[in-house]
Protein backbone atom coordinates (compact mmCIF):
# COMPACT_ATOMS: atom_id res chain seq x y z
CA UNK A 1 0.00 0.00 0.00
CA UNK A 2 1.54 3.27 -1.03
CA UNK A 3 1.59 6.30 1.21
CA UNK A 4 -0.83 8.17 -1.03
CA UNK A 5 -3.47 5.47 -0.92
CA UNK A 6 -2.92 5.16 2.85
CA UNK A 7 -3.65 8.87 3.23
CA UNK A 8 -6.65 8.69 0.90
CA UNK A 9 -8.09 5.73 2.77
CA UNK A 10 -7.69 7.45 6.11
CA UNK A 11 -9.27 10.64 4.78
CA UNK A 12 -12.24 8.66 3.46
CA UNK A 13 -12.49 6.90 6.83
CA UNK A 14 -12.82 10.30 8.48
CA UNK A 15 -15.88 11.23 6.40
CA UNK A 16 -18.44 9.29 8.51
CA UNK A 17 -16.98 10.73 11.72
CA UNK A 18 -17.20 14.24 10.36
CA UNK A 19 -20.72 13.62 9.03
CA UNK A 20 -21.76 12.40 12.47
CA UNK A 21 -20.25 15.47 14.10
CA UNK A 22 -22.14 17.75 11.70
CA UNK A 23 -25.45 15.91 12.18
CA UNK A 24 -25.12 15.70 15.96
CA UNK A 25 -24.17 19.32 16.47
CA UNK A 26 -26.98 20.40 14.13
CA UNK A 27 -29.60 18.31 15.90
CA UNK A 28 -28.44 19.34 19.36
CA UNK A 29 -28.54 23.04 18.59
CA UNK A 30 -32.02 22.72 17.09
CA UNK A 31 -33.24 20.94 20.22
CA UNK A 32 -32.38 23.98 22.30
CA UNK A 33 -35.28 25.58 24.14
CA UNK A 34 -34.12 29.16 23.63
CA UNK A 35 -33.33 30.80 20.32
CA UNK A 36 -30.57 33.14 19.19
CA UNK A 37 -33.02 36.05 19.16
CA UNK A 38 -34.00 35.75 22.81
CA UNK A 39 -32.76 39.06 24.10
CA UNK A 40 -33.39 40.84 27.37
CA UNK A 41 -36.25 42.60 25.63
CA UNK A 42 -38.66 40.45 23.70
CA UNK A 43 -38.72 41.28 20.01
CA UNK A 44 -42.04 42.28 18.45
CA UNK A 45 -43.52 39.16 16.80
CA UNK A 46 -43.39 40.66 13.30
CA UNK A 47 -39.68 41.46 13.51
CA UNK A 48 -38.98 38.08 15.01
CA UNK A 49 -40.84 36.33 12.20
CA UNK A 50 -38.93 38.35 9.62
CA UNK A 51 -35.59 37.53 11.23
CA UNK A 52 -36.43 33.84 11.36
CA UNK A 53 -37.54 33.89 7.75
CA UNK A 54 -34.32 35.66 6.74
CA UNK A 55 -32.21 32.96 8.38
CA UNK A 56 -34.47 30.14 7.18
CA UNK A 57 -35.41 29.20 10.77
CA UNK A 58 -39.11 29.01 9.90
CA UNK A 59 -38.61 26.03 7.62
CA UNK A 60 -38.92 22.37 8.71
CA UNK A 61 -35.80 20.99 10.38
CA UNK A 62 -34.87 18.55 7.61
CA UNK A 63 -34.90 21.35 5.03
CA UNK A 64 -32.74 23.49 7.28
CA UNK A 65 -30.32 20.61 7.66
CA UNK A 66 -30.19 20.03 3.91
CA UNK A 67 -29.48 23.70 3.35
CA UNK A 68 -26.78 23.71 6.01
CA UNK A 69 -25.02 20.63 4.61
CA UNK A 70 -25.14 21.83 1.03
CA UNK A 71 -23.70 25.13 2.24
CA UNK A 72 -20.95 23.31 4.14
CA UNK A 73 -19.93 21.42 1.02
CA UNK A 74 -19.41 24.77 -0.67
CA UNK A 75 -17.44 26.08 2.31
CA UNK A 76 -20.33 28.19 3.57
CA UNK A 77 -20.93 27.84 7.31
CA UNK A 78 -23.92 30.18 7.25
CA UNK A 79 -24.36 33.59 8.83
CA UNK A 80 -23.40 34.38 12.39
CA UNK A 81 -26.50 35.29 14.39
CA UNK A 82 -24.72 37.73 16.64
CA UNK A 83 -21.91 39.19 14.53
CA UNK A 84 -24.44 40.43 12.02
CA UNK A 85 -21.84 41.80 9.60
CA UNK A 86 -19.87 38.57 9.31
CA UNK A 87 -20.52 35.07 8.03
CA UNK A 88 -19.18 32.20 10.11
CA UNK A 89 -16.83 31.36 7.23
CA UNK A 90 -15.29 34.83 7.48
CA UNK A 91 -14.84 34.46 11.23
CA UNK A 92 -13.21 31.08 10.70
CA UNK A 93 -10.96 32.44 7.97
CA UNK A 94 -9.89 35.21 10.34
CA UNK A 95 -9.38 33.00 13.38
CA UNK A 96 -7.96 29.83 11.90
CA UNK A 97 -4.47 31.21 11.07
CA UNK A 98 -4.10 32.56 14.61
CA UNK A 99 -5.25 29.35 16.28
CA UNK A 100 -3.20 27.20 13.95
CA UNK A 101 -0.01 29.22 14.52
CA UNK A 102 -0.61 29.03 18.25
CA UNK A 103 -1.33 25.29 18.28
CA UNK A 104 1.45 24.18 15.97
CA UNK A 105 4.02 26.38 17.70
CA UNK A 106 2.95 24.93 21.05
CA UNK A 107 3.20 21.33 19.78
CA UNK A 108 6.61 22.01 18.21
CA UNK A 109 7.89 23.63 21.41
CA UNK A 110 6.52 20.76 23.48
CA UNK A 111 8.39 18.20 21.38
CA UNK A 112 11.57 20.28 21.23
CA UNK A 113 11.70 20.55 25.02
CA UNK A 114 9.89 17.42 26.16
CA UNK A 115 11.83 14.83 24.17
CA UNK A 116 15.34 16.02 25.19
CA UNK A 117 14.17 16.40 28.79
CA UNK A 118 12.85 12.84 28.72
CA UNK A 119 16.10 11.50 27.22
CA UNK A 120 18.11 13.37 29.81
CA UNK A 121 15.98 11.98 32.63
CA UNK A 122 16.21 8.43 31.28
CA UNK A 123 19.99 8.58 30.89
CA UNK A 124 20.46 9.93 34.40
CA UNK A 125 17.95 7.54 35.87
CA UNK A 126 17.57 7.73 39.65
CA UNK A 127 19.90 10.70 39.96
CA UNK A 128 18.99 14.28 40.80
CA UNK A 129 18.39 15.34 37.18
CA UNK A 130 15.90 12.51 36.70
CA UNK A 131 14.04 13.33 39.88
CA UNK A 132 13.93 17.02 39.00
CA UNK A 133 12.54 16.42 35.51
CA UNK A 134 9.95 13.98 36.82
CA UNK A 135 8.86 16.32 39.60
CA UNK A 136 8.39 19.16 37.14
CA UNK A 137 6.51 16.76 34.88
CA UNK A 138 4.01 15.81 37.59
CA UNK A 139 3.48 19.49 38.34
CA UNK A 140 3.04 20.31 34.65
CA UNK A 141 0.46 17.57 34.23
CA UNK A 142 -1.55 18.40 37.34
CA UNK A 143 -1.72 22.18 36.97
CA UNK A 144 -4.38 23.12 34.42
CA UNK A 145 -3.82 25.62 31.62
CA UNK A 146 -6.19 28.16 33.15
CA UNK A 147 -3.99 28.32 36.25
CA UNK A 148 -0.69 28.30 34.35
CA UNK A 149 -1.79 31.14 32.08
CA UNK A 150 -2.46 33.75 34.79
CA UNK A 151 0.62 32.63 36.74
CA UNK A 152 2.95 33.08 33.75
CA UNK A 153 1.33 36.43 32.99
CA UNK A 154 1.83 37.52 36.58
CA UNK A 155 5.51 36.55 36.59
CA UNK A 156 6.67 37.49 33.08
CA UNK A 157 4.17 40.16 32.20
CA UNK A 158 3.49 42.05 35.41
CA UNK A 159 6.41 41.46 37.77
CA UNK A 160 9.30 41.13 35.34
CA UNK A 161 7.69 43.10 32.50
CA UNK A 162 9.54 41.05 29.87
CA UNK A 163 6.54 40.24 27.71
CA UNK A 164 3.23 41.83 26.78
CA UNK A 165 0.40 40.73 29.07
CA UNK A 166 -2.15 40.45 26.30
CA UNK A 167 -2.95 41.68 22.87
CA UNK A 168 -2.26 40.84 19.30
CA UNK A 169 -0.42 42.84 16.69
CA UNK A 170 0.08 40.81 13.52
CA UNK A 171 3.76 40.14 13.02
CA UNK A 172 4.80 40.86 16.59
CA UNK A 173 6.11 37.52 17.82
CA UNK A 174 6.47 38.63 21.45
CA UNK A 175 2.66 38.47 21.68
CA UNK A 176 2.86 34.76 21.02
CA UNK A 177 5.50 33.82 23.59
CA UNK A 178 3.33 33.59 26.71
CA UNK A 179 0.34 31.92 25.00
CA UNK A 180 2.55 29.32 23.33
CA UNK A 181 4.48 28.63 26.54
CA UNK A 182 1.22 28.20 28.43
CA UNK A 183 -0.19 25.78 25.90
CA UNK A 184 3.04 23.84 25.60
CA UNK A 185 3.75 23.29 29.31
CA UNK A 186 1.33 20.42 30.05
CA UNK A 187 2.31 18.72 26.79
CA UNK A 188 6.03 19.14 27.58
CA UNK A 189 5.44 17.43 30.90
CA UNK A 190 3.57 14.52 29.37
CA UNK A 191 6.03 14.10 26.48
CA UNK A 192 8.98 14.11 28.87
CA UNK A 193 7.38 11.41 31.00
CA UNK A 194 6.48 9.27 27.99
CA UNK A 195 9.94 9.62 26.42
CA UNK A 196 11.68 8.72 29.66
CA UNK A 197 9.53 5.66 30.26
CA UNK A 198 9.71 4.23 26.77
CA UNK A 199 13.43 4.97 26.33
CA UNK A 200 14.19 3.10 29.56
CA UNK A 201 12.14 0.18 28.25
CA UNK A 202 13.82 0.19 24.83
CA UNK A 203 17.29 0.36 26.37
CA UNK A 204 16.61 -2.99 28.05
CA UNK A 205 15.84 -4.80 24.78
CA UNK A 206 18.16 -7.35 23.23
CA UNK A 207 18.67 -5.41 20.00
CA UNK A 208 20.06 -2.48 21.92
CA UNK A 209 22.38 -4.86 23.73
CA UNK A 210 23.37 -6.24 20.34
CA UNK A 211 24.12 -2.75 19.05
CA UNK A 212 26.26 -2.11 22.13
CA UNK A 213 28.00 -5.44 21.74
CA UNK A 214 28.99 -4.54 18.21
CA UNK A 215 30.95 -1.72 19.76
CA UNK A 216 28.86 1.21 18.53
CA UNK A 217 29.43 4.40 20.48
CA UNK A 218 26.80 5.15 23.11
CA UNK A 219 25.65 8.23 21.20
CA UNK A 220 24.88 6.23 18.07
CA UNK A 221 23.14 3.51 20.04
CA UNK A 222 20.87 6.00 21.75
CA UNK A 223 20.16 8.42 18.93
CA UNK A 224 20.05 6.05 15.94
CA UNK A 225 18.88 2.78 17.41
CA UNK A 226 16.95 3.44 20.59
CA UNK A 227 15.35 6.82 20.03
CA UNK A 228 13.22 6.08 16.93
CA UNK A 229 11.63 3.13 18.72
CA UNK A 230 11.30 5.06 21.97
CA UNK A 231 9.48 7.87 20.22
CA UNK A 232 6.58 5.66 19.08
CA UNK A 233 4.45 6.20 22.21
CA UNK A 234 5.18 9.91 21.96
CA UNK A 235 3.90 9.96 18.39
CA UNK A 236 0.74 8.09 19.42
CA UNK A 237 0.25 10.73 22.07
CA UNK A 238 0.30 13.52 19.46
CA UNK A 239 -3.41 13.01 18.69
CA UNK A 240 -4.55 13.49 22.32
CA UNK A 241 -1.94 16.24 22.68
CA UNK A 242 -3.47 18.10 19.75
CA UNK A 243 -6.89 17.76 21.38
CA UNK A 244 -5.50 19.13 24.64
CA UNK A 245 -3.79 22.04 22.88
CA UNK A 246 -6.94 22.93 20.95
CA UNK A 247 -9.04 22.86 24.13
CA UNK A 248 -6.38 24.88 25.93
CA UNK A 249 -6.39 27.44 23.16
CA UNK A 250 -9.94 28.38 24.22
CA UNK A 251 -8.54 29.54 27.55
CA UNK A 252 -5.39 31.06 26.14
CA UNK A 253 -7.11 33.02 23.39
CA UNK A 254 -9.74 34.34 25.79
CA UNK A 255 -7.22 35.30 28.44
CA UNK A 256 -4.59 36.84 26.18
CA UNK A 257 -7.11 38.47 23.88
CA UNK A 258 -5.98 36.69 20.72
CA UNK A 259 -8.39 36.88 17.77
CA UNK A 260 -8.46 33.11 17.17
CA UNK A 261 -11.25 30.58 16.68
CA UNK A 262 -11.30 29.67 20.36
CA UNK A 263 -12.37 33.12 21.42
CA UNK A 264 -15.15 33.11 18.83
CA UNK A 265 -16.28 29.72 20.08
CA UNK A 266 -16.44 30.90 23.69
CA UNK A 267 -18.20 34.10 22.68
CA UNK A 268 -20.58 32.11 20.50
CA UNK A 269 -21.36 29.77 23.38
CA UNK A 270 -22.07 32.71 25.67
CA UNK A 271 -24.30 34.35 23.04
CA UNK A 272 -26.02 31.11 22.00
CA UNK A 273 -24.86 31.85 18.47
CA UNK A 274 -25.63 28.38 17.09
CA UNK A 275 -24.17 28.67 13.62
CA UNK A 276 -20.95 30.11 15.00
CA UNK A 277 -20.56 27.38 17.65
CA UNK A 278 -21.37 24.64 15.13
CA UNK A 279 -18.97 26.01 12.55
CA UNK A 280 -16.14 26.27 15.07
CA UNK A 281 -16.77 22.77 16.45
CA UNK A 282 -16.79 21.31 12.94
CA UNK A 283 -13.51 23.02 12.06
CA UNK A 284 -11.92 21.93 15.36
CA UNK A 285 -13.06 18.36 14.74
CA UNK A 286 -11.60 18.48 11.23
CA UNK A 287 -8.31 19.80 12.59
CA UNK A 288 -8.16 16.99 15.12
CA UNK A 289 -8.79 14.39 12.45
CA UNK A 290 -6.02 15.87 10.29
CA UNK A 291 -3.54 15.95 13.18
CA UNK A 292 -4.36 12.36 14.05
CA UNK A 293 -3.70 11.39 10.45
CA UNK A 294 -0.39 13.22 10.55
CA UNK A 295 0.52 11.36 13.75
CA UNK A 296 -0.33 8.04 12.09
CA UNK A 297 1.88 8.87 9.12
CA UNK A 298 4.83 9.73 11.34
CA UNK A 299 4.21 6.55 13.31
CA UNK A 300 4.27 4.43 10.18
CA UNK A 301 7.41 6.18 9.03
CA UNK A 302 9.18 5.56 12.37
CA UNK A 303 8.13 1.95 12.88
CA UNK A 304 10.04 -0.41 10.56
CA UNK A 305 7.46 -3.16 11.14
CA UNK A 306 4.68 -1.06 9.63
CA UNK A 307 7.00 0.30 6.94
CA UNK A 308 7.88 -3.20 5.78
CA UNK A 309 4.28 -4.38 5.67
CA UNK A 310 3.42 -1.41 3.53
CA UNK A 311 6.28 -2.03 1.12
CA UNK A 312 5.56 -5.67 0.49
Amino acid sequence: MSTVSFILRRLLGAVPTLALIVALSFLLTRMAPGGPFDEEQALPPAIRANLEAAYGLDQPVHLQFGRYVSGLLRGDFGPSFKFRDFTVSELIAGGLPVSLTLGLAALALALAVGVPAGIWAALSRGRAADRLVMMLAVAGISIPVFVIAPLLTLVFGIWLRWLPVAGWVPGRPSDLVLPVMTLALPVVAYVARLTRGSLLEVLRTTWIRAARARGLPARTVILRHALPAALLPVVSYLGPAAAAVLAGSLVVETLFGLPGMGRHLVQGALNRDYTLVMGMVIVYAGLMILLNLLADLVYAWLDPRIRQVRRS
Binding site: T17, L20, I21, L24, S25, L28, T29, M31, A32, P33, G34, S142, I143, P144, V145, F146, V147, A149, P150, L151, T153, L154, I158, A243, L246, A247, L250, V251, T254, L255, L265, V266, G268, A269, L270, R272, Y274, V277, M278, M280, V281, Y284, A285, M288
Partner: protein, 282 residues
Protein backbone atom coordinates in the same frame (compact mmCIF):
# COMPACT_ATOMS: atom_id res chain seq x y z
CA UNK B 1 -9.79 -15.45 48.32
CA UNK B 2 -11.61 -12.19 47.79
CA UNK B 3 -11.13 -10.99 51.35
CA UNK B 4 -7.46 -11.77 50.87
CA UNK B 5 -7.17 -9.54 47.83
CA UNK B 6 -8.85 -6.62 49.57
CA UNK B 7 -6.79 -7.10 52.74
CA UNK B 8 -3.58 -7.25 50.69
CA UNK B 9 -4.58 -4.17 48.78
CA UNK B 10 -5.38 -2.26 51.93
CA UNK B 11 -2.06 -3.31 53.47
CA UNK B 12 -0.13 -2.17 50.43
CA UNK B 13 -2.03 1.10 50.27
CA UNK B 14 -1.21 1.84 53.90
CA UNK B 15 2.47 1.48 53.13
CA UNK B 16 2.27 3.92 50.22
CA UNK B 17 3.23 7.31 51.56
CA UNK B 18 2.09 9.38 48.58
CA UNK B 19 -1.29 7.65 48.39
CA UNK B 20 -1.93 7.98 52.13
CA UNK B 21 -0.98 11.66 52.03
CA UNK B 22 -3.39 12.07 49.12
CA UNK B 23 -6.12 10.32 51.11
CA UNK B 24 -5.50 12.47 54.18
CA UNK B 25 -5.51 15.69 52.16
CA UNK B 26 -8.71 14.61 50.44
CA UNK B 27 -10.42 13.73 53.71
CA UNK B 28 -9.46 17.12 55.08
CA UNK B 29 -10.66 18.98 51.97
CA UNK B 30 -13.96 17.11 51.83
CA UNK B 31 -14.70 17.78 55.50
CA UNK B 32 -13.66 21.42 55.08
CA UNK B 33 -15.83 21.84 51.99
CA UNK B 34 -18.96 20.32 53.49
CA UNK B 35 -18.68 21.23 57.18
CA UNK B 36 -16.30 24.19 57.10
CA UNK B 37 -18.63 26.92 55.83
CA UNK B 38 -20.80 26.54 58.93
CA UNK B 39 -17.90 27.65 61.12
CA UNK B 40 -17.10 30.78 59.17
CA UNK B 41 -18.86 33.80 60.59
CA UNK B 42 -20.02 35.17 57.26
CA UNK B 43 -22.78 34.43 54.84
CA UNK B 44 -22.03 33.49 51.24
CA UNK B 45 -23.34 36.76 49.81
CA UNK B 46 -22.41 38.91 52.78
CA UNK B 47 -20.60 42.04 51.71
CA UNK B 48 -18.10 43.47 54.15
CA UNK B 49 -18.14 47.12 53.12
CA UNK B 50 -15.12 48.01 55.24
CA UNK B 51 -12.95 45.18 53.89
CA UNK B 52 -13.07 45.05 50.11
CA UNK B 53 -10.29 43.15 48.38
CA UNK B 54 -8.55 42.75 51.72
CA UNK B 55 -5.36 40.65 51.73
CA UNK B 56 -5.16 37.47 53.84
CA UNK B 57 -4.66 37.77 57.62
CA UNK B 58 -5.23 41.52 57.63
CA UNK B 59 -8.96 41.97 57.92
CA UNK B 60 -10.83 40.80 61.02
CA UNK B 61 -12.18 37.32 60.60
CA UNK B 62 -11.29 37.01 56.91
CA UNK B 63 -8.42 34.51 57.21
CA UNK B 64 -7.69 34.34 53.52
CA UNK B 65 -8.86 37.83 52.61
CA UNK B 66 -11.88 39.00 50.66
CA UNK B 67 -12.74 39.48 47.00
CA UNK B 68 -13.45 42.79 45.35
CA UNK B 69 -17.03 42.76 46.64
CA UNK B 70 -15.87 42.17 50.19
CA UNK B 71 -17.03 38.57 50.29
CA UNK B 72 -14.99 36.16 52.42
CA UNK B 73 -12.59 34.32 50.12
CA UNK B 74 -12.09 31.24 52.29
CA UNK B 75 -15.84 30.77 52.50
CA UNK B 76 -16.30 31.19 48.76
CA UNK B 77 -13.41 28.85 47.98
CA UNK B 78 -14.85 26.17 50.28
CA UNK B 79 -18.28 26.57 48.70
CA UNK B 80 -16.69 26.43 45.25
CA UNK B 81 -14.80 23.31 46.22
CA UNK B 82 -18.07 21.81 47.46
CA UNK B 83 -19.75 22.51 44.11
CA UNK B 84 -16.77 21.17 42.15
CA UNK B 85 -16.55 18.04 44.27
CA UNK B 86 -20.29 17.41 44.15
CA UNK B 87 -20.40 17.71 40.35
CA UNK B 88 -17.28 15.59 39.96
CA UNK B 89 -18.56 12.82 42.22
CA UNK B 90 -22.02 12.83 40.64
CA UNK B 91 -20.64 12.84 37.07
CA UNK B 92 -18.22 10.05 37.98
CA UNK B 93 -21.11 8.08 39.46
CA UNK B 94 -23.15 8.59 36.27
CA UNK B 95 -20.29 7.43 34.08
CA UNK B 96 -19.63 4.57 36.47
CA UNK B 97 -23.17 3.22 36.25
CA UNK B 98 -23.44 3.57 32.46
CA UNK B 99 -19.87 2.46 31.75
CA UNK B 100 -19.91 -0.60 34.00
CA UNK B 101 -23.27 -1.91 32.81
CA UNK B 102 -22.47 -1.19 29.15
CA UNK B 103 -19.00 -2.75 29.31
CA UNK B 104 -19.99 -5.76 31.42
CA UNK B 105 -22.94 -6.57 29.17
CA UNK B 106 -20.89 -6.19 25.98
CA UNK B 107 -18.06 -8.30 27.33
CA UNK B 108 -20.37 -10.99 28.63
CA UNK B 109 -22.55 -11.26 25.52
CA UNK B 110 -19.60 -11.17 23.07
CA UNK B 111 -20.16 -11.57 19.34
CA UNK B 112 -22.29 -9.19 17.34
CA UNK B 113 -23.92 -7.43 20.27
CA UNK B 114 -20.49 -6.72 21.70
CA UNK B 115 -19.19 -5.46 18.35
CA UNK B 116 -22.18 -3.19 17.91
CA UNK B 117 -22.04 -1.82 21.45
CA UNK B 118 -18.34 -1.13 21.29
CA UNK B 119 -18.63 0.39 17.83
CA UNK B 120 -21.01 2.92 19.40
CA UNK B 121 -18.37 3.68 22.04
CA UNK B 122 -15.72 4.10 19.32
CA UNK B 123 -17.89 6.56 17.44
CA UNK B 124 -18.51 8.70 20.55
CA UNK B 125 -14.79 8.49 21.28
CA UNK B 126 -14.00 10.08 17.94
CA UNK B 127 -16.01 13.19 18.82
CA UNK B 128 -14.09 16.16 20.17
CA UNK B 129 -15.46 15.85 23.69
CA UNK B 130 -14.77 19.24 25.21
CA UNK B 131 -16.41 20.88 22.21
CA UNK B 132 -19.49 18.73 22.49
CA UNK B 133 -19.76 19.49 26.17
CA UNK B 134 -19.73 23.16 25.14
CA UNK B 135 -22.50 22.55 22.60
CA UNK B 136 -24.53 20.80 25.29
CA UNK B 137 -24.12 23.74 27.67
CA UNK B 138 -25.23 26.07 24.87
CA UNK B 139 -28.29 23.94 24.22
CA UNK B 140 -29.46 23.19 27.74
CA UNK B 141 -28.41 26.41 29.39
CA UNK B 142 -25.52 26.88 31.77
CA UNK B 143 -25.71 25.39 35.20
CA UNK B 144 -24.67 22.51 37.43
CA UNK B 145 -27.19 20.03 36.04
CA UNK B 146 -26.17 20.59 32.41
CA UNK B 147 -22.52 20.20 33.34
CA UNK B 148 -23.28 16.99 35.14
CA UNK B 149 -25.16 15.48 32.21
CA UNK B 150 -22.72 16.75 29.57
CA UNK B 151 -19.63 15.48 31.36
CA UNK B 152 -21.30 12.22 32.34
CA UNK B 153 -22.38 11.68 28.71
CA UNK B 154 -18.77 11.25 27.65
CA UNK B 155 -17.15 10.11 30.89
CA UNK B 156 -18.42 6.54 30.68
CA UNK B 157 -16.62 5.63 27.43
CA UNK B 158 -13.22 4.71 28.85
CA UNK B 159 -14.89 2.94 31.76
CA UNK B 160 -16.93 0.84 29.32
CA UNK B 161 -13.77 -0.19 27.45
CA UNK B 162 -11.89 -1.16 30.59
CA UNK B 163 -14.81 -3.10 32.01
CA UNK B 164 -15.49 -4.92 28.73
CA UNK B 165 -11.90 -6.16 28.59
CA UNK B 166 -12.19 -7.50 32.12
CA UNK B 167 -15.62 -9.02 31.50
CA UNK B 168 -14.36 -10.87 28.41
CA UNK B 169 -11.77 -12.60 30.56
CA UNK B 170 -14.09 -13.19 33.53
CA UNK B 171 -16.82 -14.90 31.54
CA UNK B 172 -14.48 -17.82 30.78
CA UNK B 173 -14.00 -18.56 34.45
CA UNK B 174 -15.48 -21.62 36.12
CA UNK B 175 -17.74 -19.76 38.51
CA UNK B 176 -19.54 -18.12 35.60
CA UNK B 177 -20.01 -21.48 33.97
CA UNK B 178 -21.33 -22.80 37.27
CA UNK B 179 -23.84 -19.96 37.37
CA UNK B 180 -24.94 -20.71 33.81
CA UNK B 181 -25.38 -24.38 34.67
CA UNK B 182 -27.28 -23.32 37.76
CA UNK B 183 -29.80 -21.63 35.45
CA UNK B 184 -29.03 -17.98 36.17
CA UNK B 185 -30.15 -15.50 33.54
CA UNK B 186 -27.88 -13.08 31.70
CA UNK B 187 -28.74 -10.06 33.83
CA UNK B 188 -28.27 -11.99 37.04
CA UNK B 189 -24.89 -13.34 35.97
CA UNK B 190 -23.68 -9.92 34.89
CA UNK B 191 -24.94 -8.23 38.03
CA UNK B 192 -24.03 -10.88 40.61
CA UNK B 193 -21.01 -12.63 39.18
CA UNK B 194 -19.26 -10.41 36.63
CA UNK B 195 -19.58 -6.92 38.10
CA UNK B 196 -18.47 -7.71 41.67
CA UNK B 197 -15.31 -9.28 40.34
CA UNK B 198 -14.20 -6.28 38.36
CA UNK B 199 -14.59 -3.78 41.18
CA UNK B 200 -10.81 -3.37 41.52
CA UNK B 201 -10.09 -1.70 38.16
CA UNK B 202 -13.40 0.13 38.40
CA UNK B 203 -12.45 1.74 41.71
CA UNK B 204 -9.02 2.66 40.38
CA UNK B 205 -10.36 4.20 37.22
CA UNK B 206 -13.17 6.03 39.02
CA UNK B 207 -10.64 7.60 41.39
CA UNK B 208 -8.66 8.82 38.41
CA UNK B 209 -11.83 10.09 36.67
CA UNK B 210 -12.82 12.43 39.49
CA UNK B 211 -9.89 14.86 39.02
CA UNK B 212 -10.48 14.82 35.27
CA UNK B 213 -14.08 15.87 35.79
CA UNK B 214 -13.04 18.55 38.27
CA UNK B 215 -10.67 19.93 35.64
CA UNK B 216 -13.28 19.93 32.87
CA UNK B 217 -15.86 21.58 35.13
CA UNK B 218 -13.40 24.26 36.28
CA UNK B 219 -12.27 24.77 32.69
CA UNK B 220 -15.83 25.51 31.55
CA UNK B 221 -16.63 27.62 34.59
CA UNK B 222 -13.42 29.55 34.00
CA UNK B 223 -14.58 30.33 30.45
CA UNK B 224 -17.94 31.45 31.82
CA UNK B 225 -19.91 28.58 30.29
CA UNK B 226 -20.06 26.39 33.40
CA UNK B 227 -21.17 27.37 36.88
CA UNK B 228 -22.46 30.95 36.96
CA UNK B 229 -22.13 33.67 39.57
CA UNK B 230 -23.34 34.07 42.28
CA UNK B 231 -22.81 30.31 42.69
CA UNK B 232 -19.09 29.80 43.29
CA UNK B 233 -17.01 27.07 41.68
CA UNK B 234 -13.24 26.74 41.66
CA UNK B 235 -13.28 27.60 37.96
CA UNK B 236 -15.13 30.89 38.15
CA UNK B 237 -13.24 31.89 41.31
CA UNK B 238 -9.99 31.40 39.39
CA UNK B 239 -11.37 33.45 36.50
CA UNK B 240 -12.28 36.18 38.99
CA UNK B 241 -8.84 36.02 40.53
CA UNK B 242 -7.12 36.11 37.15
CA UNK B 243 -8.82 39.38 36.32
CA UNK B 244 -7.66 40.94 39.60
CA UNK B 245 -4.25 39.33 39.93
CA UNK B 246 -2.31 42.53 39.47
CA UNK B 247 -3.83 44.17 42.52
CA UNK B 248 -5.03 41.18 44.52
CA UNK B 249 -2.96 38.07 43.71
CA UNK B 250 -4.45 36.12 46.64
CA UNK B 251 -7.78 36.06 44.86
CA UNK B 252 -6.09 33.86 42.27
CA UNK B 253 -3.76 32.00 44.60
CA UNK B 254 -6.38 30.67 47.05
CA UNK B 255 -8.79 28.95 44.62
CA UNK B 256 -5.98 27.91 42.24
CA UNK B 257 -4.03 26.37 45.12
CA UNK B 258 -7.14 24.57 46.28
CA UNK B 259 -7.80 23.16 42.79
CA UNK B 260 -4.23 21.98 42.30
CA UNK B 261 -4.22 20.40 45.76
CA UNK B 262 -7.42 18.46 45.11
CA UNK B 263 -6.26 17.25 41.69
CA UNK B 264 -2.86 16.20 43.07
CA UNK B 265 -4.47 14.36 45.96
CA UNK B 266 -6.86 12.39 43.74
CA UNK B 267 -4.09 11.50 41.29
CA UNK B 268 -1.75 10.27 44.05
CA UNK B 269 -4.53 8.25 45.64
CA UNK B 270 -5.52 6.79 42.26
CA UNK B 271 -1.94 5.80 41.44
CA UNK B 272 -1.60 4.18 44.86
CA UNK B 273 -4.87 2.29 44.41
CA UNK B 274 -3.72 1.08 41.02
CA UNK B 275 -0.53 -0.31 42.51
CA UNK B 276 -2.52 -1.94 45.30
CA UNK B 277 -5.45 -3.34 43.32
CA UNK B 278 -3.83 -4.23 40.02
CA UNK B 279 -1.81 -7.37 40.67
CA UNK B 280 -0.24 -7.32 37.21
CA UNK B 281 2.03 -4.43 38.02
CA UNK B 282 3.18 -5.87 41.32
Amino acid sequence: MKGGLWRDAFGQLRGDGAAMTGLAVLAFLVIAAFAGPAFIGFREDEIDWSNMAAPPFEADGHWLGTDRLGRDLLLRTLLGLRVSLAIALAATLVSLVIGVSWGALAGYLRGRTDALMMRFVDVLYALPQVFFVIILTVVFGRGPLTLLVAIGAFGWLTMARIVRGQALALRERDFVEAAVVGGAGTMRIVARHIVPNLLGPVIVYATLTVPQVILVESFLSFLGIGIQEPLASLGNLIADGASEMETAPWMLAVPAGCLVLVVFAFNFLGDGLRDALDPRDR
